[in-house]
């Protein structure tokens, strides 16, 4: 199944009885606080424009109240937009009638929830085939598919347990298996791992990355954790007060944060895991000595390769294997250390 991207265009969401009337005022600069004070309406999302690439993971990051969960619910229209479009495969989801929307949800999207939202009276396997039940697929067929995905997420042997016999991490594996069994192109993950403890979270991130490498779905992942965003996201959009403050790759955000807010966020990040070798390498000087490292390798992985082989220099190669630059430990360490402040890093860059 070919993946399609999702285009969010000029999306506004205002909560309140007369939401529609206030869109124009908000567009012309009415602030969230003013809107609430003067009209008793709450601004959820303001002029969101995000292009989510087909077959890639788009992470929407923001703190609580930033509107990220509201945004993801617009993609399958669990929340009605006040204004704007969500376009998938040439069709505006926001313009669909009830039947088309139901078909869209059944066949094109699958969702994983923060609090798992499993059906407590159904066993693991029955939960897994829930989406197929809704589609009207016969049990003999759906159980086969369900079993496959239960095995893939590592829950073999737990098919006939009830959800609350399982730990949080295992319950979310069921949530993931339920979503994957739907075999939909779009995978919506609403803070899917936020309720899990750190080790299990990293574990589940690995599960997702491994599956994604093979499945190439269009994934939208919501999180409040920048490390998680950087690890998973092919593209990251950072949301604050219902607006996108910056979007780009993890590297772009870490290296050139758009404002103080993001700078503050990025400060604590492990840069070695985000910045790629090609970003900080020096131009190729003709001497191909040291370890050969691919251009997209992260600095951390590069440092590991260099220390393991006892070298202090590395040659950066592109996909074809031709050398394109060099990297020494000194440069690498400088790039991996968090700059003292945004000003200092700006000056250093200039």
């Amino acid at each position: 199944m070919a993946s399609h991207g999702i285009e969010i265009k000029g999306l506004y969401k205002i909560f309140g009885s007369n939401a529609r009337q206030h869109v124009e005022a908000v567009r012309n600069g009415l602030s969230k606080a003013e809107l609430n004070e003067r009209y008793g309406h709450v601004l959820g999302l303001k002029d969101i424009n995000i292009s989510m690439p087909a077959g890639g993971i788009t992470v929407v990051m923001g703190l609580s109240g930033s509107g990220k969960s509201t945004l993801i619910r617009h993609i399958n229209r669990l929340i009605e937009p006040t204004y704007g479009e969500v376009v998938y495969d040439g069709v505006n989801v926001c313009g669909m009638n009830e039947r088309d929307l139901r078909e869209f949800r059944r066949h094109k999207t699958a969702m994983v929830f923060q609090k798992f939202a499993l059906l407590p009276h159904r066993t693991v396997i029955e939960n897994t085939v829930y989406g197929l039940d809704i589609q009207g697929v016969s049990r003999s067929e759906s159980l086969k598919k369900g079993q496959y995905w239960i095995d893939r997420v590592g829950l073999s042997g737990f098919e006939h347990h009830y959800p609350n016999q399982l730990s949080g991490g295992m319950q979310q594996r069921v949530g993931l298996a339920r979503a994957l069994t739907n075999d939909a192109d779009i995978l919506l993950m609403d803070e899917a791992y936020s309720a899990l403890d750190p080790l299990i979270r990293v574990d589940m991130q690995t599960v997702l990355l491994d599956l994604q490498a093979e499945l190439k779905k269009t994934v939208v992942f919501i999180t409040h954790d920048l490390d998680e965003a950087l690890r998973l996201g092919d593209k990251i959009a950072i949301l604050r007060d219902g607006q996108v403050v910056q979007q780009g790759t993890g590297q772009e955000i870490v290296l050139s944060p758009a404002d103080d807010y993001i700078t503050a966020f990025v400060k604590e990040v492990n840069r070695g895991r985000v910045i790629q070798a090609k970003t900080v390498m020096k131009p190729f000087d003709g001497a191909a000595d040291g370890v050969r490292i691919e251009a997209t390798t992260t600095l951390e992985a590069a440092a590991k390769a260099m220390t393991e082989s006892g070298q202090t220099k590395a040659t950066i190669i592109d996909e074809a294997g031709t050398p394109i630059g060099t990297l020494d430990l000194q440069t690498m360490m400088a790039a991996m250390v968090t700059p003292a402040g945004s000003d200092a890093s700006m000056m250093a860059a200039e």
Binding site: E103, R105, R106, T109, F113, L119, P120, Y130, I134
Partner: protein, 302 residues
């Protein structure tokens, strides 16, 4: 009182509508009511007929079958409902004692009417409860009606029931259903409204239609509460069969009524205890059954 000397009359004695006006009002309403009943008697009879048939059928089945057969069937139902030996043995002892004191047949009559009225209350209550859960407006209309139904003394609505349906078993049955149906409606409504919003959202996200949501998510998750409603309905119909004996329902209720009229102390209490025994059997069995339905919630991961 002395204070009345200074006050206008209307402030002291309540200015009630005059007796003659009220008499006229009553006459108009009562006559209108009777007229309606006479006019549409055939509809009322048509309504009564299936109930009469069902009730008679069940009563005959219960009373004419040999007591051994009835007892065995009853014990099987209790056992497979509750899966509890204790409740089953308790039931056996209770029923044997009832038989020993010569109340077997009356008890069967009461069982028949309680069974029929509970079934009818479920058939009526469940869909109304579902409708209420789905619409605020329906809830707004039905809730006050239920309030009136539950606070109105049961003797009072025996009157319209008798005026419309006359004296007999079926009017009694209808009175019992009216009395017993509110908890069924309320608890169905409550159960559906209490279903976890997140699970409902998940159902929506996977593209469930309204019907699929109702049968896959709302009803199963509301079932424990609905079972509590059924339990309440059974208890209330047991209480009401005694009152309904005043309009011609037989069984243990009529015995109790006779005992009151004739001051048969022992006889009255024996019938009372028989009702208690049946109530306990129904209650324990339906509760154990309800608990078994929600086994999945019991084993919680630590």
């Amino acid at each position: 009182m002395a204070i009345c000397e200074f006050l206008p009359r209307a402030f002291c004695r309540f200015p009630a509508i005059s007796d003659s006006t009220i008499r006229q009002l009553r006459q108009v309403i009562d006559d209108g009511f009777r007229g309606l009943v006479r006019e549409y008697g055939y509809i009322i009879d048509a309504l009564k007929a299936p109930l009469q048939w069902f009730l008679n059928y069940l009563e005959r089945l219960f009373t004419t079958s040999p007591w051994t057969v009835v007892l065995i069937v009853m014990l099987l139902v209790v056992y497979f409902g509750s899966r509890s030996i204790r409740i089953t043995i308790g039931t056996a002892i209770g029923m044997l004692l009832i038989g020993l004191f010569g109340l077997w047949e009356d008890t069967m009559t009461t069982l028949a009417i309680v069974t029929v009225s509970t079934l009818i209350a479920i058939i009526i209550g469940l869909p109304i409860g579902i409708l209420m859960a789905r619409s605020e407006r329906v809830q707004g209309v039905i809730n006050p009606i239920l309030d009136v139904m539950q606070t109105m003394p049961s003797f009072v609505y025996l009157i319209p029931v008798v005026v419309i349906f006359g004296i007999g078993k079926v009017p009694g049955l209808i009175a019992v259903v009216i009395y017993a149906v509110p908890p069924m409606i309320r608890l169905t409504n409550l159960g559906i409204r209490l279903v976890d919003k997140e699970v409902l959202e998940a159902a929506d996200a996977f593209g469930s239609s309204r019907g699929q949501k109702l049968w896959n998510v709302q009803m199963p998750l509301a079932l424990p509460t609905i079972m509590a409603g059924i339990n309440q309905t059974i208890m209330m119909s047991l209480a009401m069969v005694v009152v309904a004996s005043m309009v011609g329902v037989g069984g243990l209720g009529r015995n109790t009524l006779q005992a009151i009229n004739n001051q048969f102390f022992t006889f009255g209490f024996l019938n009372g205890f028989a009702l208690v025994a049946i109530a306990i059997i129904f209650d324990r069995t339906s509760q154990a059954f309800g608990k078994r339905l929600q086994r999945h919630t019991e084993v919680v991961h630590g």
